[in-house]
């Protein structure tokens, strides 16, 4: 991560503690302990007293949960040098993890079986069923966490670079619901069978947070207490603004402002960082986070002033009186006008501008409109904007150019001599193959099949880990992408996102 960002201080920008110092605090025992406790609370804060028979299991479960965690932490610590991730994989650890999973799945299976048999006999006992559901939910959560951590440790060695850049993954994570806590979501939505609850679980992006923390060496670990105190994400986590429509306009903007060179700090992020699906960025080092809370935890590593309770609390509107230094961003693409080396360098205003600019200007346009099959976009928000209008109210010019809006067509006609609007019946209708299934939709379909595996048939469960290992696509169904975004550091050496991230997709 430290290598992921170069900070250029054009002014006398105060040097801040570099990130490396954060990793030294990783093993603070107090923090770790606090984290575990609170995670227990988050996972099992439910009336499990009524099921005393299961309580020992929890102990096993929670203790064993730490096992891989610590391992991962250990294995990743040397890994921060980013040299050879494959070497770090320990088959012994994996084996331990898998056996634990097997055991765990069996337990869940038993509970579910008992529930299904009871359900067929008595319709009543609603509260009991609910409690059991929560139990199952919690257990499944643990299983999944375990699975991911296991798979995550495996990931670099798989040398499969596609996971983190899979558009379907991102798409899925966008379309799925708002962040919800596991137990919380179940309580809120009483459902009468297991299958209904399980998709809820799979939706919750909080795993991603968890996994982020489990798999990174950066001060993310210190995020944990924060997150677990607020697992359901209600107010602690911002809705993820993946569609920055508002920002789009000003993306390549900045023309309006004429900051004299030197009056602002220029940050330049690496392309990998730009392409990672983060939305909260550290103003000092540029590292991205999915949640503001995580960012605030991260900020503690930059100095004592960020450790105060006030700094850790949610920022209020009337923030510090001390004005933050004006920061502008540089595009990492050398030769681009937005690159700081360019003669007429025009900085980008925000990180979102950087992201959209980089994707639009220097990445392949990989999102193809499924309706017209011609328009391509590199930013998915652009595709969605286009799809809203595509195929509807085609405004066509005699030259064959189509427009989504009449005033655009008229502007075009006004500009070019001899061009005239074509009346709808004048020409053969240009209709896209509307019914052709979209690639990403196909991916989603795969994903939705994937949803069913934990609960629909318990026979499948033993195969679960197999699948996870075999077919990377199942990750996409679980919307773990931020997790892999967090893993970017480790997957980075294996591939180059910008080249052709979607080569595996049928085109």
């Amino acid at each position: 991560m430290e290598g992921g960002l170069r900070r250029i201080s054009e002014t006398s920008f105060k040097a801040l503690p570099s990130m490396s110092c954060n990793s030294t605090r990783n093993n603070d025992p107090d923090q770790q302990g606090g984290r575990f406790n609170s995670m227990d609370q988050s996972c099992f804060s439910r009336p499990d007293q009524s099921f005393p028979a299961f309580s020992p299991l929890f102990g096993v479960q929670s203790s064993s949960l730490y096992l891989p965690d610590e391992k991962i932490g250990n294995q990743f610590e040397p890994n921060s040098s980013l040299n050879n991730p494959a070497v770090d994989w320990d088959p012994q650890t994996m084996l331990t993890n898998l056996s634990f999973l097997e055991q765990k799945i069996k337990q869940v299976k038993d509970i579910v079986q008992s529930m299904s048999s009871r359900e067929s006999q008595v319709a009543g006992g609603c509260s009991e069923v609910q409690a059991k559901q929560q139990l199952v939910t919690a257990d499944l959560t643990c299983i999944i966490i375990q699975l991911i951590s296991t798979a995550g440790s495996l990931l670099p060695s798989m040398k499969n670079p596609l996971l983190s850049s899979n558009p379907a993954v991102r798409h899925l994570s966008n379309t799925l619901g708002s962040p919800m806590g596991f137990g919380f979501s179940c309580n809120q939505q009483p459902s009468t069978n297991n299958e209904a609850t399980i998709p809820e679980i799979t939706k919750t992006p909080d795993y991603e947070e968890l996994m982020n923390s489990l798999n990174t060496t950066t001060p993310d670990e210190s995020d944990e207490p924060m997150k677990c105190q607020n697992p359901c994400g209600g107010e602690g986590s911002e809705p993820i603004p993946m569609e920055d429509h508002d920002v789009k306009e000003s993306d390549d903007g900045g023309e309006g402002e004429n900051l004299p060179p030197g009056s602002y700090v220029v940050l330049q992020l690496d392309k990998e960082e730009i392409l990672a699906p983060h939305t909260h960025f550290c103003l000092i080092c540029g590292k991205g986070f999915k949640r503001d809370a995580n960012l605030r935890m991260h900020m503690r590593g930059h100095g004592d002033e960020y450790k105060t309770p006030a700094a850790l609390a949610k920022p209020s509107k009337d923030s510090s009186s001390e004005p933050a230094p004006v920061t502008r961003y540089s595009c990492p693409y050398v030769g681009c006008k937005r690159n700081k080396e360019h003669k007429k360098f025009q900085p980008l205003k925000t990180i979102l501008c950087v992201k959209n600019h980089y994707k639009r200007s220097h990445c392949d346009k990989s999102y193809t409109c499924s309706r017209c099959n011609t328009k391509k976009f590199s930013v998915i928000a652009d595709l969605k904007t286009h799809e809203k209008h595509c195929g509807r109210d085609k405004w066509l010019c005699s030259c064959g150019t189509t427009f989504s809006r009449k005033d655009k067509l008229f502007g075009h006609v006004a500009l070019f001599q001899g061009h005239t609007p074509a009346l709808p019946m004048d020409d053969v209708k240009v209709t896209g193959a509307l019914d052709q299934p979209q690639d990403s939709e196909a991916m989603n379909a795969v994903g939705s099949i994937g949803y069913n595996f934990p609960g629909s048939s318990s026979d499948d469960i033993p195969n679960l880990d197999m699948k996870m290992a075999d077919d990377a696509r199942y990750f996409s169904s679980l919307s773990f992408d931020p997790c892999f975004g967090g893993l970017d550091d480790f997957t980075r050496p294996g591939f180059d996102i910008s080249e052709n991230p979607f080569s595996f997709m049928p085109s």
């Binding site: 009449k406 005033d407 008229f410 006609v413 006004a414 001899g418 061009h419 005239t420 609007p421 009346l423 019946m425 004048d426």
Partner: protein, 584 residues
Amino acid sequence: MSEEVQRYGGGGGGVGALSLDLLGQVLDRVREPRDRKACRLVSRAFARAEAAHRRALRVLRREPLARLLRTFPALERLDLSACASLDDASLAAALAGADLAGIRRVCLARANGVGWRGLDALVTACPKLEVVDLSHCVGAGDREVAAVAAATGLRELSLEKCLGVTDMGLAKVVVGCPKLEKLSLKWCREISDIGIDLLSKKCPELRSLDISYLKVGNESLRSISSLEKLEELAMVCCSCIDDDGLELLSKGSNSLQSVDVSRSDHVTTQGLASLIDGHNFLQKLNAADCLHEMGQRFLTNLAKLKETLTVLRLDGLEVSASVLQAIGEGCNNLVEISLSKCNGVTDEGISSLVARCSHLRVIDLTCCHLLTDNALDSIAENCKMVECLRLESCSSISEKGVEQIAICCPNLKEIDLTDCRVNDAALQHLAKCSELLILKLGLCSSISDKGLAFISSNCGKLIELDLYRCTSVTDDALAALANGCKKIKMLNLCYCNKITDSGLGHLGSLEELTNLELRCLVRITGIGISSVAIGCKNLIELDLKRCYSIDDAGLWALARYALNLRQVNFLQGFSYPLESSKEE
């Protein structure tokens, strides 16, 4: 002229010796179509000359169209607006093979049967087309207009009430016809600011534009202000346009000569004042039914137009004597002023207005209830040129005032005395105005045959007479009219319920009659209608509502003889007393 031609052309020798060119020159100077027809009929030479030289043609039937187009190769103006049941197929067939290279003007008003195929054929056949009138082709849409847009030399186009035309059709026209000078988009409600903007960019030659009844806003006026040659702009009833728009319009080149903002609710005198700031050569300003209060700035700005302003319409404005005086002092060259329904118009105001405006020819004082004979006296004294005087509902005037007007204004062509309670004596005075063309006497129930006898004997040029609810009028008056006013084209006899079939028999001698209203003449029957149908060959519109005594024989006669009839309003009998149906 026709008699002369008959005398020489009858033998065929004398006229036939003249060259076709000369005969053509002669024919060009024969104004009346009927006279020209007479020439054609009596001499082959004239017929040949007419065939070679005829410039204009108005066709009433579709069947002879093809033959006519071949007969007259020099045609420049083709009027198909009255051509019954013209459709694409018949138009295309008639155009095929005819030499129409000379045709410059085509009128297709109300030709609802003609669609884009017919227009396509027309435009292809007439390469020099310059003027096209599609007004009231309510079915016409973008495709029809697009077909017209293929005429690249088009200079004038009327799309009035072509309801289907949208911005797309307009865009076709403005791209296809860059030389457009005159364009009417009245009632094309689908056209928006975007279309007007494109029009302003693509047709820099535009001189006259009508955007009345459109839903366009101030943005359109911003675009229009870029038209440097625009002289005439009509925006009647554009409720989305307000003072800001007029302000934008005033920024353009100082070319506007005529502006019509009547019934545009959101325009005030402020906007008009700023408009005058930018366009100080305005000749016509029509602000009827949109202003409510007079603003001082507007009044002072009006004075800036002293030299140029000739037409000013301020209907519905609240005025005072001082305002009228200021207008009179500021605008000496006014030729026409309309103060219809203006509150506060008094004798004093009118006299101070007309004192400085001696050029006034048209004065509209409709519903200025306060006016008396004194106002008419001052008009008669100062405005000797008055041609048109509208005094409807000025109920305080009497025959004395009318007498003054009749004595001092020999050029009077039109006077509206509806609901003025004038009597036969007033008509006796009016009969001095031998130039009178239009006379409206509706609701003057004291008028009798005696008064109309004076009119009939002296006003031989009368073309329009309104006797609505003049209940004292009888058949004798009609006999006198039929005898003295042969040129009458429009006659309103509604509710003159003393009229019988014999009166209609006299009307049968009015060959020029085109519009006849006979509503609620309960005594007339099929016999009277038959004599009208047989005699009035040019009858176009006939109102027979609530003429309960008319039977099938009358309608049969209409169908048989009134070949030019286009509209009849009638009631089928007592069984549907409130319902009227329309036959075309």
